[in-house]
């Protein structure tokens, strides 16, 4: 019997490998099959996915609810934009700096979050998210105020050096948008791998232990305060990288891109995909992107507000029936299939011993 059980896990490994290979092929081929505007939309989905991945580390794994990650996403985007435009930094350095700045901001927010928990933390972060665009508009000299800021860098243009909007030049035989796509894809994959390694590490187990029972974790020797603050920082840094991708993709930042609605959409992505699973937020972000960029524009203008209605209802239905999101549904289907297979194989032989 042990051989058949071994076969099953081997088969599962093959299936898993196959699925990942298929996903990789699709992700790599995608930009060659679609027009530029679609490829740029895919890039914005990646920005959302990375930020949602960060929110998931905090909310899904650590149980600290943030309704304000849209603001951190915005801090990342504005840091990138300002460093490139006003300080002349290269894009990559600006994006890394965005992650660092957001880490620090996250740690600062994480400190009061040690005392303010659950619904109340949600309230404070909701207020942060509402306040963020207003703060941005307060400093037009730096942020461009309510008009937004075009991300420019000085370049030689017809013999004169001028500030021109940043573009991704064609490289390695790829069009600019495709090159940009692959760069962002690499960054996205790195972020998701980092998050995966984090939650599988000692610290990751501490995160979950704190979420499930803070007192028990403390008693078992988990440095609760340090872990919670660090988690807030790491989560914010990921949101900042998402914001950096957003800024580089659009070559422009606007306060209206970082309203409370963005924070809500990040939660939508995490919850629909599956909180406390690594791929969940990516699936959620893609689903959300398909909704807003493909389904919604195909509706007549009069009926476009149907998108938030559908998303809202979907959120509620998922929470009430399948809190694990799409990943949770897939897992329970697989468990059921395995149970059925075990049952049918045990009927063929004798006794319950085969269930092992």
């Amino acid at each position: 019997m042990s051989t058949s059980a071994h076969d099953r896990t081997a088969r599962e490994r093959w299936v898993r490998g196959g699925i990942w290979l298929a996903v990789a092929v699709v992700l790599l081929v995608l930009p060659t099959q679609f027009p530029e505007f679609r490829v740029e939309q895919f890039c914005s989905w990646m920005a959302l996915a990375v930020a949602a991945c960060g929110l998931n580390v905090l909310t899904g794994y650590n149980g600290q609810i943030s309704v304000g990650h849209g603001a951190l996403y915005g801090v990342g985007a504005y840091t990138t934009a300002i460093l490139i435009t006003k300080a002349g930094w290269p894009m990559l350095a600006a994006a890394v700096a965005a992650a660092v700045v957001c880490f620090v901001v996250g740690v600062v927010i994480g400190l009061p979050a040690l005392r303010i928990k659950g619904l109340y933390l949600a309230l404070v972060t909701l207020a942060v998210a509402t306040l963020f665009p207003l703060v941005i508009e307060q400093f037009p000299g730096l942020t461009g105020g309510s008009n937004g800021l075009a991300i420019t860098s000085p370049r030689l243009y017809r013999g004169v050096v001028r500030d021109k909007p940043i573009v991704f030049e064609p490289a390695f035989g790829l069009a600019g948008d495709q090159w940009k796509y692959y760069l962002f894809l690499a960054a996205t994959v790195v972020c998701f791998l980092l998050a995966r390694n984090l939650v599988h590490s000692r610290m990751g187990r501490s995160l979950v232990a704190i979420r499930d029972n803070e007192t028990a974790a403390e008693v078992s020797g988990v440095p609760v305060a340090t872990v919670k603050i660090l988690t807030f920082g790491i989560s914010s840094a990921l949101a900042g990288v998402g914001g950096a991708i957003f800024a580089l993709n659009n070559a422009r930042v606007n306060p209206s891109s970082f309203t409370i609605v963005v924070s809500i959409y990040l939660l939508v992505a995490v919850v629909t995909g599956g909180a406390a699973s690594i791929v969940g937020p990516a699936i959620g972000a893609v689903l959300f992107g398909v909704f807003t960029d493909v389904v919604s524009p195909s509706l007549p203008a009069r009926y476009q507000p149907a998108t938030p209605v559908i998303l809202g209802v979907l959120l509620i239905v998922l929470m009430l029936t399948a809190p694990g999101g799409i990943v949770g549904i897939a897992q329970s289907l697989r468990t059921r299939a395995t149970a059925r297979r075990l049952r049918s194989s045990s009927e063929g032989t004798t006794g319950p011993a085969t269930a092992a």
Binding site: T59, L123, A127
Partner: protein, 294 residues
Amino acid sequence: MNNFLQVLVVGIGDGAVYAMLGLGLVVIYRSTGLLNFAQGELAMFSTFITWTIWEVGVPLPLAVLGGMVGGFLVGALLHQVAVRPLGDPHLRPLATVIVTIGLFLAVNGAAQLIWGTLDKDFPKLFGEGQITLGGVAIAWQKIGAVLVLALMVLGFWFLFQRTKIGLAMRAVASNSESSALVGVPVPRLLMLGWGLAAAVGTVAGVFTAPGLGLGSNLMQLTLIFGFAAITLGGFDSPLGAVVGGMVVGIMTSVLPQYLPIFSKMRLAPAFLLILLVLLFRPQGLFGRKQVERV
């Protein structure tokens, strides 16, 4: 001095509106222990109902009553289909936040679907007039807001202290399990609480709409001010909602006079208030202290 009195009067008028929304939030928190992030959107929705009734030619005060009834029904319905199946909010805070956020999105989108995305002009319930007292102009609308708030507080007091339903609602708020055991229909009372909160919110929306224009984002800032009010007053205290609303209203109106940085960020002091109160006195001024048992 006159200038100070003038902004003070404006602040009290605004504060009355925050207190109204806060009262709705308190009613829900007391009965279900839930911070309702969709409260502002419900208020916006029933303000649109009011507008629709008014537009067909019904006098505004009657239309407001109609809007309150509409809001009551919508609030009660949403509680039954979305909130009731959740169970205790403090056991599942994430699910609770997500569901109210889902309601936020759905109600906001529904309003845009039904009434379009263009802001509507909304008339003032108490007209455009004002009186001048010792050089300070006081709009009837502001006086009206304070009077309506006083009526509301009286109404709540009567409901909670002098009626059987109110007694049952208080019983549910204090211990829902024991109340269920002695025969109190708990779910029906929670539904009633949601309906009442939405009805009260309607009035807050009706007072907010003339200044801002009636659109689907009508209450998003007011909601934060309402939350600031009940954070200061204490999440479970109706008196706290009124006092907190007044403090927040006066603060956001007076502060920008002396600190111009706040003139375009009236939300910032409210945010700081929420943060500081939650950090140093989580039960607020009049709230009951929560004891955490391990």
